[in-house]
Amino acid sequence: MTSSLKISANDLSLTFQTNDGPVHALSDVNLDIHEGDFVSFIGPSGCGKTTFLRVIADLEQPTGGSITVNGVSPQEARLARAYGYVFQAAGLYPWRNIGGNIKLPLEIMGFSKSEQQQRVTRVLEMVDLAGFENKFPWQLSGGMQQRASIARALAFDADILLMDEPFGALDEIVRDHLNEQLLELWAKTNKTIGFVTHSIPEAVFLSTKIVVMSPRPGRVTDVIDSPLPKGRPLEIRDTPEFLEVAQRVREGLRAGHSYD
């Protein structure tokens, strides 16, 4: 953990004003994320995972505390195009083919046509979708769509990748496969990744740091630095180290959970 500080939240709070009164989506969150970290956020529904990611990406304004990204405010970081954001559903535009979808951010950021094409080819290879450039999203399976959406986030050189339950809708086998690919990609690019998930094994398998959150009000209840090595075969999930981390996460979760 000698790498530089990427994201730093200090006593961060966010309260939504709703008709039924205020909702404390985040309260007093303190968290440091370093360059190259793979941070998973896990916690029951409504604990503020999405909200926290959105605050990082300047899609939501905190109501208390402070947060810096790359040493500046989230807004400045967004204007500097620091973020690649992957939403739960692939969120590809149906009227653009896969290539067009990946070009979208590139067009907006004013890359030249030839540069756009180069990058599309490169990232499609990266996510194993070479040859699908001219297909439309609905012609692809859910897993492939999700990979295309990751490719879109990779196409420009955002150095922070934020992923909000990107694999939530996929079945376990496809998910395993994408998890492996994601780790590979992360190893290749050394991006900083923030990753929301509901699945304990997924969180443990992927992350260098697991943030366990709990709702009402949304807060961080545990931050677990994973002792697992960087290179991780799927089989690592049957090792005692893995199970131990998983157990700790599960306990953290159970503690903060309520049923209604």
Binding site: L59, L79, A89, M109
Partner: protein, 310 residues
């Protein structure tokens, strides 16, 4: 495709019912004619017959029923009478090389089509611009939307004569413009409603995605909202073009239009030639069918090319 047979069957049944209905509908004038030509009719006298049901009349005067199928001014013409009249005012005109004579329905359809086109263009333009204003400005949304609904409850026919006079006042003569305005008035609303829906159809996360790219307002309009609204646009255009046609014809009724399908209906009424009304109605139906089909074809060509599944 698999509904071709059912549709044809239903159509055949409709034509059959229509044909059968001619007898009771026309029995009274038929008996009047029979009586005048000296045939014995039960009961005698057109006024006494008014209190007798048509079924009774048909039973008692079976041999006169046939007359009802050949009336010049039928209350209900037979399908073949309408077809004949329709052919006389279209196909036969074309055959005589007078397709665009004033007696040809093609000419009148063309007049109506022209107003419909301008009304449609005007209406969709206003509808789309209005929708953009409503989607992008909250004040416009709050102040305009309720009135858009109210506007559709105003009987446009009532305004038609005044629209003519007012456009005269500002120096526009001719009936074309007022007709197009009325047509646009009926056309804009479905377009507006549908486009508001369409422009608002992008999900919050689709919009957020662009925000993370720091996209400008224009970029998010051209790259997201507009393409996302295209399927809604086509749905709106189909309703809109039908509404524009209704508008033109309604506009031709009370504005004393002298040409166009609406005028034909009106004149047919004034001169007591029901066949003219019926054939104009058929021309209007065919026109509506063509217009809607045309947009449907464009939609079928455009949407898949844009990646939408239809």
């Amino acid at each position: 495709m698999r509904s071709v047979f059912p549709v044809l069957t239903v159509l055949a049944v409709i034509v059959g019912l229509w044909w059968a209905a001619v007898a009771p509908m026309n029995i009274r004038p038929a008996l009047d004619i029979a009586e005048r030509s000296g045939v014995a009719v039960v009961p005698e006298g057109s006024v006494t017959r008014r209190d007798v049901s048509v079924w009774r009349l048909m039973l008692d005067n079976r041999e006169s029923i046939a007359i009802g199928y050949q009336l010049d001014r039928p209350r209900l013409p037979t399908p073949s009478q309408v077809g004949e009249e329709f052919w006389k005012t279209t196909g036969e005109m074309v055959a005589k090389g007078r397709a665009f004579s004033k007696r040809s329905l093609l000419y009148h359809s063309w007049i109506t089509l022209r107003s419909t086109f301008w009304g449609f263009l005007l209406g969709t333009t206003f509808g789309i611009l209005g929708a953009v204003a409503i989607v992008y400005s909250r004040v416009t949304d709050m102040s305009l939307m309720p009135w858009a609904i109210v506007s559709q409850t105003i009987p446009i026919v009532a305004l038609a004569p005044m629209i003519i006079v007012l456009s005269n006042q500002v120096g526009i003569d001719g009936r074309g413009v007022p007709k197009a305005i009325i047509s646009a008035y009926l056309c804009y609303f479905p377009v507006l409603v549908s486009m508001v829906k369409g422009l608002r159809s992008p999900t919050a996360s689709e919009l957020d995605l662009l925000k993370t790219y720091n996209a400008s307002g224009g970029q998010s309009f051209w790259k997201l909202r507009l393409p996302a609204s295209v399927p809604y646009l086509f749905a709106a255009l189909k309703v809109g073009v039908a509404a524009a046609l209704v508008g033109t014809i309604v506009g031709e009724l009370p504005t004393g239009a002298i040409s166009g399908l609406g005028a034909r209906i009106l004149i047919g009424d004034q001169f007591g030639t029901p066949l003219a009304i019926w054939s104009a109605l058929f021309a209007a139906a065919i026109l509506a069918g063509i217009l809607v089909t045309l947009i449907d074809l464009i939609q079928r060509a455009v949407l898949p090319r844009m990646g939408f599944r239809t």
